[in-house]
Amino acid sequence: MREITYSVAAREALSERMAVDPTIFVVGEGIGRRGGNFATTLGLYERYGQMRLADTPISERGFVGMCCGAAMTGARPVVDFMFVDFILDAFGEIFNQVAKMQYMSSGRLKMPLLMRGCIGIGGSAATHHSGSYYAQFANIPGLRVVVPSTPYDAKGLMNTALTCDDPVLYLEHKNLLATKGPVPEPEESFSVPFGKARVSREGKDVTVVALALMHRKTLEAAEALAAEGISAEVIDPRTISPLDTDTVLESVRKTGRLLIVDESFQPMGVGAEVAARVADQGFDDLDAPIRRLNGAFTPTPYSPTLEAAIVPNPTTIAQAIRDLVKE
């Protein structure tokens, strides 16, 4: 399979879907001629024109609400927030309108709306350009939340998102955009279903669930630990809502130990939900306490020394795994 970047993979999916579905249009700041702050729409304006790649004023709430109305009336809008931090002003529209519209209309309206944006701490982006809000959004009934960690999943999940009738929040970690990986040729259509985790590394001593950039960092840590004779199984949930825990439960049945690694905040986070489900449905399989390793519960500082101190890295992940295996 050819190797392309995460960013190209996602864009390719968007462009391919736009070619076959004329109701898709993209809105956002600088997604027109400029091609997107993160090159999410590079080249698409030239191909699909102004109405389908519509630059917007700085009106995040406004254009989300607008796209809600457009989705209710036969279009398939894509909202590109660049940094997903800017989504927050639209929280009311998303929670109370976008996510509830199918329910409120008793299924007579569909809500084929894709919202996307970049998450993640790094590069001294500081606290207004580094959020990862998936826990909050995954607590909203009616919304799908997707967090791919590989180019393959980036394209496969984008394909699913752009053919699904539910509203989807699609989150891309900034530090994954330039990473490469195998992706099928453009002519081979494929998709990755929502709600199906991926076991990206098999192991027998401990199960580690990790998503987005932390998934990559965990694989690094697992590689290093193999030399020490510790065999970690690594799972990427890929989608947070729906969240596949069957795959995790099956793994824990084998390993008896569970660690969840997440760059984002611990309280009421993804790790809490995975832990709670396993503490219920997988209780008898557990041989040790369930552990979580999270980014610190703090706004993101700017200075590199402070920034490095608040996110897990392969060293701290490896240590957490070692500690758990010893339990």
Binding site: S59, G69, A70, G142
Partner: protein, 328 residues
Amino acid sequence: MSSRLPAGVTRDQALALYRMMQTIRQSEEGLAKACASGLVHGACHTYVGEEAIASGVCAHLTHDDAVFSTHRGHGHALAKGVTPRELFAELFGRETGCSHGRGGSMHLFKPEVGLMGTSGIVAPCILQAAGAGYSFKLRGLPHVGVAFFGDGASNNGAFHEGLNLAAIYQAPTLFVCENNQYATEVAFSYATRNTDVYKKAASFDMPGICVDGNDALAVYQAAGEAIARARAGGGPTLIECKTYRTRAHAEGMRESGYRPLEDIEAWKRRDPLKLLAGRLSAADEASQAELDAIAEQVRLIVEDAAEFARNSPYPDGATATDHVYAEA
């Protein structure tokens, strides 16, 4: 006021407006009674005194046009094609309601006729109507998106963002502000220093029109022009309808002194149904008997609606989580 009907308004159109206004008025009065007797389970905001607006605007719309409405949405729903039976049944929480009992007064849905929903949250309808306009323009369709909203909503950021977006994209959208001068019990003259909503369209270089919201024919004419312009690619319009609600903000609330009782009386003298009846008589277009006959026909329909709703089943609790997702 001329004694003739305005140019372009036929007798049939005027009578249809009158019939719709009667339908709304009598439905609201029926619902108010039902509230008092405990048949309505949640909140109920009536449209009494404002009937001319929904009637005048929706007379120009087809089922392909998309209406987005507010907490005070019964009138919009009826004018757009929800039947009194569906409306009553919805407020009574029954399976036969327009939202199958999921919504109640503030969540009325009937997309089949272009009623894209009323909302318990103030202001999102403004944005959604702009989006419907965008969608229609993108797909080359001649339909329009219409938002109804109150004076209170015009102070919300969604007003600013929604009108601006519709303006820059020249989306075929009609923004109808029903300025009844209060948001619950907060006076509009307290909540903004510029109480002429239509003037705020200038910020977006959009036509802003002011009409007497109690004059159904004036609303009909202004909306007709704006909708025709939108369909022809001329972009959005803001229409402010100055009006007044003569009942409480919501059923069960009392006049607590936030507005002068004389004002209520004065506006009741400008009752939109009376005004239209007067215009029709003055123009010799309808006799009192004819108008009474319409009112009587409507009375039967509304009575039937209440009866139908009372006799309808409640939804099955087992279906409570259906439709959260498309494929569920």
